[in-house]
């Protein structure tokens, strides 16, 4: 009996170990381990599909946050990159008569590349204005793209496009997609982390705090903003391409979806705008919850009620997002106390100078 009681403690010990890693800023270690083995343990294709969509949104939200979160330019038209990636995948695989199968995965980076190319003129126009105007312009440009997709002949119009059907064994259907999506998440996270550590990332943060002051300190703000904007489109385009491949058919209203724009932004805000972990956490919670509720209760809108409640709680109690809230709780408190002491010392030193 005693042995059994001790066994019950194991999950608690594991949870504390994970929490300690997170506190040490090594949250990615347990996270990678869990995500790497998930589809091997969870064989239910329904849950694997949920996990796949969750990964797609984790990557897209991370990539979005790499520009919008760091620079403060909230872009609400990233669905244009997602759709561009999806249509690139569809059109390329159809016109190049791709043999259905693993070879199609090579088109995923092509989707990202096209999205990046598209982002350059969009950014060139939209980044001339700031704040609210920038948000509105990105939304407007997004709808231009959606209109194109609906009305042009090469996109198949409202009927969309059918991709070559992939014919590998059903029991393994989700697994390759899962791991490619996981690779895109890793790519987006590594890119976002290295941007945060680079001189370029510092310049984005300076732009967020005071763009004109940064300009006056020699920061090439236009070039830096445009580069960041285009870079963030790459992973989002790859997500779109992978989504198209996974679905096997795409419709303009689902790949150029305004809900996508809003979702990835809300995920980042929920988790922590401008932090590395925030969009990952936000997407993990929101997307998996949405998919789960949709699948379980076969109601496509139930999640909206829960989202509303969740956002209310976050906005009321942790307006900077969950990650910033927790980090403040864990580390900043003692730091702030120390800072107050230092500030006092400086004040005294200043008086005696």
């Amino acid at each position: 009996m005693l042995q059994m009681k001790k066994l019950w403690r194991l999950p608690a010990i594991a949870i504390f170990a994970v929490l300690r890693l997170i506190k040490q800023n090594k949250w990615w270690l347990p996270a990678i381990a869990i995500f790497a083995v998930f589809p091997l343990i969870e064989k239910n294709p329904e849950y694997q599909t949920i996990a796949f969509y969750t990964l797609i949104f984790m990557a897209a939200s991370t990539s979005w946050n790499m520009f919008s979160g760091y620079s403060g330019y909230v872009a609400l038209g990233s669905g244009a990159f997602y759709g561009t990636g999806a249509y690139t995948m569809a059109l390329a695989s159809i016109h190049w008569h791709m043999a259905a199968g693993a070879a199609m995965f090579w088109l995923v980076p092509l989707g990202g590349l096209l999205a990046t190319l598209i982002a350059i003129p969009i950014g060139w126009i939209a980044l001339r204005v700031r704040r609210h105007t920038f948000v509105v312009i990105t939304i407007a440009i997004f709808f231009v793209f959606q209109l194109f997709a609906i009305n042009m002949s090469f996109t198949g119009g409202t009927a969309g496009l059918n991709l070559p059907f992939i014919t590998w064994n059903n029991s393994y259907y989700d697994i390759p997609f899962y791991y490619i999506a996981f690779a895109i998440v890793l790519f987006a996270v590594v890119l976002s982390a290295s941007v945060r550590r680079s001189r370029f990332g510092l310049q984005l943060l300076a732009i967020r705090d005071d763009e004109d002051r940064a300009l006056g300190l020699g920061v090439k703000v236009s070039a830096v903003k445009l580069t960041g904007f285009a870079m963030s489109a790459f992973a989002i385009g790859m997500c779109g391409a992978l989504y198209a491949m996974f679905q096997g058919q795409i419709y303009p209203q689902f790949v150029f979806d305004p809900l996508f724009d809003i979702s990835i932004a809300l995920m980042a805000f929920l988790g922590g705008f401008g932090t590395l972990l925030g969009p990952l956490l936000g997407a993990l919670v929101l997307e998996s919850m949405q998919q789960y509720l949709t699948v379980t209760y076969s109601s496509g809108s139930l999640y909206l009620i829960l989202f509303g409640a969740l956002f209310l709680i976050v906005i009321l109690f942790m307006p900077q997002g969950v990650v910033v809230y927790l980090r403040d709780r864990w580390t900043k408190k003692e730091e702030r106390e120390r800072a107050a002491v230092i500030a006092n010392e400086v004040a005294f030193a200043g008086d005696s100078a």
């Binding site: 001189r199 705090d209 500030a343 400086v346 030193a349």
Partner: protein, 259 residues
């Protein structure tokens, strides 16, 4: 002495307000030039024109022989003119040290910023040196938003200095700062000037200006009224008139002149 900054006939109107009207100013190399005048006389607008934040309607600005009349702020900074703002502007959500590092990039093309890390050891060392110079190096790891007003002024001065500009434009360095810190700032300016830095200072604190500056220009209604050594400017009747008669002046004149 060579002229480092030479602004000639600069005019600028904002709608119906003629902020600058045929204003000229010369800053000699190695000098500490003071720029005084009643509120609304165009001092800050002249700063903005010289640093590229505002495009003038007429006139030219030369820096060390090159025309910077319509240059952008980043280009002006790269040439060697650093400035502070009247309302202190720092990057409040990054650390004090990171604030310094934003300015230490003059030799880089911006593209290199993509591949290189935020800072080299030398850059951090030099940033810490300048923070130490202004006396806030112990705050380096703190988020800059947590600094007090005086500390922000010092940080702004430090991150302009870290880029090693030839001329430093200070917009009211003594504004809203206690007397001890004002003397401290004046001392720093003297030290730097002795090391060869040129200063152009906008300031309302007359004691500060008169004790520090080698040359003073008085502005009135958008134009340069009088230029000369502090003592002759103080005695000039035109200057008294400007302060007493200025309709846009909201400070008592004697207080301003006598400090």
């Amino acid at each position: 002495m060579t002229t480092l900054i030479n602004a000639q006939g600069v005019s600028k109107a904002f709608g119906g307000v003629q902020a600058l009207n045929d204003c000229s100013l010369e800053v000699e190399k190695g000098s500490i030039t003071g720029l005084i005048g009643p509120n609304g006389s165009g001092k800050t607008t002249l700063f903005n024109v010289m640093t590229g934040y505002v495009k003038p309607d007429a006139g030219t600005v030369f820096f060390d022989g090159s025309n910077i009349t319509n240059a952008r702020p980043d280009a002006v900074f790269e040439l060697g003119i650093g400035r502070t703002f009247q309302l202190t502007r720092i990057f409040s959500r990054i650390s004090v040290l990171e604030n310094m590092l934003v300015a230490t990039q003059r030799d880089d093309s911006w593209l290199r910023g993509l591949t290189r890390s935020m800072s080299s050891k030398e850059e951090v060392a030099s940033a810490m040196e300048w923070l130490d110079f202004v006396g806030i190096s112990q705050l380096a790891r703190l988020q800059a938003g947590a600094l007090s007003y005086g500390q922000r002024k010092l940080l702004e001065l430090a991150y302009v200095l870290v880029a090693d500009p030839a001329v430093i434009l200070l917009d009211e360095p003594a504004g809203g700062v206690n007397l001890t810190l004002i003397n401290g700032i004046a001392e720093k300016i003297r030290t730097l000037n002795a090391a060869g830095k040129t200063f152009l200072i906008v300031e309302h604190n007359m004691e500060f200006v008169m004790s520090l500056c080698t040359s003073v220009t008085v502005m009135h209604q958008g134009t340069d009224l009088v230029t000369g050594p502090p003592d002759s400017v103080r005695a000039n009747p035109l200057v008294l008139d400007a302060y007493l008669g200025g309709g846009d002046d909201d400070e008592p004149a004697e207080d301003v002149i006598n400090g």
